[in-house]
């Protein structure tokens, strides 16, 4: 899309960023499905099959797979109270699911004309992308293994960020 397309869209009643937002809402569902899959596996304690690369179990059984582990990694001993409580047991995948659901909701609201939500979507995706980058670093340099389902999640996040950035770019491609 180009700025002219936006103007044309608005002239014919189609909200600004509608196509980008619609695409983002579909991509968010991929991330949501991935997160739900990992969350259910976490609670059923079933091993996650690694069909493409080895290392899912190593990553998903690591201390960083739960909120408690992440808080401890970021805040150290200061987070011990939360980390050792029931809240600390919440799997990161569940929080990822929540993040994708928020992204889906913001994108859908934008697609239906509430364009103010697109800015929130952008902020949300930038924060999520930074966090995802850190998680990739943990997998590569701390845990020493990669989980394919975590990589799918990361790809989803970066795709959503790319959709947002392209929609804001003056050199937008036609979607």
């Amino acid at each position: 899309m180009t700025p002219e397309d936006d103007n044309r869209n608005e002239a014919i009643g189609r909200p600004r960023y509608a196509r980008s937002a619609l695409a983002a809402s579909f991509v968010s569902l991929v991330g949501l499905a991935d997160a739900v899959y990992l969350t259910v596996h976490h609670y059923t304690a079933e091993p996650v099959p690694c069909t493409v690369i080895a290392g899912c179990e190593q990553v998903l059984n690591s201390a960083y797979a739960t909120l408690g582990g992440i808080l401890t990694a970021i805040f150290g001993g200061a987070a011990e109270g939360i980390a050792t409580s029931g809240i600390g047991e919440i799997p990161l995948a569940a929080l990822g699911g929540l993040a994708y659901f928020v992204a889906f909701s913001l994108a859908l609201l934008t697609a239906y004309g509430n364009t103010a939500m697109w800015k929130l979507f952008g902020i949300h995706m930038v924060l999520l992308a930074v966090f995802t980058g850190w998680l990739i670093y943990l997998q590569g340099f701390v845990i020493g293994a990669f989980c394919q389902f975590c990589l799918i999640s990361a790809a989803t996040t970066f795709t959503l960020l790319a959709i947002f950035l392209i929609s804001k770019s003056p050199f937008r491609i036609r979607l």
Binding site: A11, L32, E46, G68, T84, E89, L108, Y112
Partner: protein, 260 residues
């Protein structure tokens, strides 16, 4: 530019609500069915699970004697490489208790330490703590294992879990001073090291890794039902003991020498 506000529509909220409900109900349904029939859920993934090799005859022996329960002469040997800090190992621990309760002396169960030290900061200390218990009383190792797995959430994220391990040792009624000496010494560490060496030689990539009569148990089979099927098949065959079987446990483990 068109400055008119967009037309109000309830459609996005309905869709968002519908997706929320689908995820919530679908996730809960999936969770319930998976919990009720783990074998059925696991069987669907059998074809895609990476294969682990069988135990070669020349693999390092591991801690000698090993942490073993059941009958030394049983025709079925279950050998598990586990990490006390790994959540999945805590789940498999419960499965193994069920298996052990069902089969008793018809199986031989060996626990191998394989702490994933890069990702579990307290796992190595937990293994050493448990092996120090073994050095004092081989039977108490299993009580310590129970303390470590059932309280895993308590100590996993502690900056230093050793005082907590000491409490467990007190709880199971051992000589704490002697345990502290054993923790500081090399014998317990060497036993952990020997188990890890065996695991590395077998290309154990994660925990838990389980072998039944020297053959690896794939992820989809790693359920009570899945393992029962393998054990029953081995019992039916009257299978020969595992390749490279570990020697039986001596009466007094305190005098056992480490193999390192």
């Amino acid at each position: 530019m068109n400055n008119q506000p967009p037309p109000k529509s309830g459609a996005p909220l309905i869709i968002i609500g519908a997706v929320f409900l689908i995820v919530l109900i679908g996730g809960f349904y999936w969770y319930s069915t998976s919990r009720q029939s783990p074998a059925a859920a696991n069987n669907n993934r059998a074809a895609n699970t990476p294969k682990q090799s069988a135990i070669p005859a020349n693999a390092p022996q591991g801690a000698n004697p090993p942490n073993m329960k059941g009958s030394p002469n049983a025709v079925v040997t279950i050998e598990e490489f586990a990490d006390f800090q790994c959540p999945q190992c805590a789940n498999v621990y419960k499965m193994m208790n069920t298996i052990h309760a069902s089969y008793g002396s018809r199986i031989k169960f060996i626990y191998r330490n394989f702490p994933l030290t890069q990702i579990h900061k307290n796992a190595y200390d937990a293994s050493v703590a448990a092996e120090a218990v073994y050095l004092q009383d081989a039977n108490k190792f299993w009580e310590m294992q129970n303390q470590l797995f059932t309280n895993q959430a308590v100590w996993s994220n502690m900056p230093d879990a050793r005082p907590t391990f000491k409490e467990y040792v007190q709880k199971i009624g051992l000589d704490v001073v002697r345990w502290e000496t054993d923790v500081a010494g090399m014998m317990a560490k060497n036993r952990v090291g020997a188990d890890m060496e065996r695991g590395r030689a077998l290309n154990v990539g994660g925990t838990p890794t389980i072998y039944i009569n020297g053959q690896p148990v794939s992820n989809p089979q790693m359920s009570v039902e899945g393992m029962r099927q393998i054990i029953d098949a081995e019992l039916d065959k009257g299978a020969a003991p595992a390749q490279n079987p570990p020697p039986a446990q001596p009466a007094n483990p305190s005098n056992a020498n480490s193999n390192k």
